[in-house]
């Protein structure tokens, strides 16, 4: 069964743009002495190719559950107050944030370490995918797919990817 939802775990998957730093204000409370945050923004290049845009796709209900599981794991290790995680879906232009995590805690070390943990875990397990669309009609390589306008594109895979179990029965960790 799913753990009961905590109101101080604020998890959002949205196609709406958001400002960098917007979550930090949300997690401040009078009993917190520290706020740490991470923002991931979309980069304009990969392997020498110019990236036009990124497209994110999520298995939304499961992504929310997995992020809440990460929040619970972080709370078990550090003394935290509010955890806010927002991940964007759909088309994200270069230079805009796709992910933000902000965590408040009474003391700085807890928030700093928990943010690091949370982004690493998110990249390992949360069912969200990113497709890079390139400016050039790059030569097709393995795993590459085109977009409707004929631009080369590729679905990415995080180095951190760690499924609980692959259907083949092999442990991917």
């Amino acid at each position: 069964m799913a753990e009961p939802e905590r109101e101080d775990d604020v998890v959002t998957i949205t196609s709406m743009p958001f400002e960098i730093g917007s979550l930090s204000q949300l997690v401040v409370r009078t009993d917190t002495g520290a706020v740490a945050s991470f923002s991931g923004t979309t980069r304009d290049n990969f392997g020498g190719k110019r990236v036009l845009r990124l497209e994110y796709e999520a298995y939304e209900p499961m992504a929310v559950l997995e992020i809440r599981r990460i929040c619970a794991a972080a709370r078990a290790r550090w003394d935290l107050r509010v955890i806010a995680v927002t991940h964007r879906t759909g088309l994200v232009p270069v230079g805009e944030p796709s992910i933000e995590i902000a965590i408040s805690s009474p003391h700085r070390r807890d928030a700093l370490e928990a943010v690091h943990f949370a982004i690493d875990e998110l990249k390992a397990t949360v069912p969200i995918w990113k497709k890079e669309v390139y400016q050039e009609d790059s030569p097709a390589s393995e795993g590459s797919v085109g977009d409707s306008a004929g631009h080369a594109a590729a679905w990415k895979a995080n180095a951190e990817w760690r499924a609980a179990s692959a259907p083949s029965g092999h442990d991917l960790s």
């Binding site: 298995y59 069912p127 995918w129």
Partner: protein, 86 residues
């Protein structure tokens, strides 16, 4: 009325594009497992056979934590290719 069980299979990202659909509805025999489902998917969609071994599976929004489980009528299974969020 139909015999067996009905399950929904959700496909994402590269897997969705290979099949051309994000959602499949399959009827399976009573007592079928996730392994049976994977075999059926590979047979019905040959394009999937090569990529399934690199994917994880979730059943009702939880990663499958053992090699296989028995499926129930109405289960929601997702084929989860390597993730790239963040």
């Amino acid at each position: 009325m139909a015999d067996g069980i009905g399950v929904v299979v959700l496909l994402f990202a590269s897997v969705r594009e290979k099949v051309g659909r994000g959602k499949l509805e399959l009827r399976m025999c009573e007592g079928s497992t996730t392994s049976d489902l994977l075999a059926a998917l590979a047979q019905q969609h040959p394009a999937l056979a090569a990529v399934l071994p690199s994917c994880a599976l979730s059943v009702n929004r939880r990663y499958l934590s053992t090699e296989q489980v028995a499926l129930s009528d109405g289960d929601e299974i997702a084929v989860i290719p390597p993730v790239s969020g963040g």
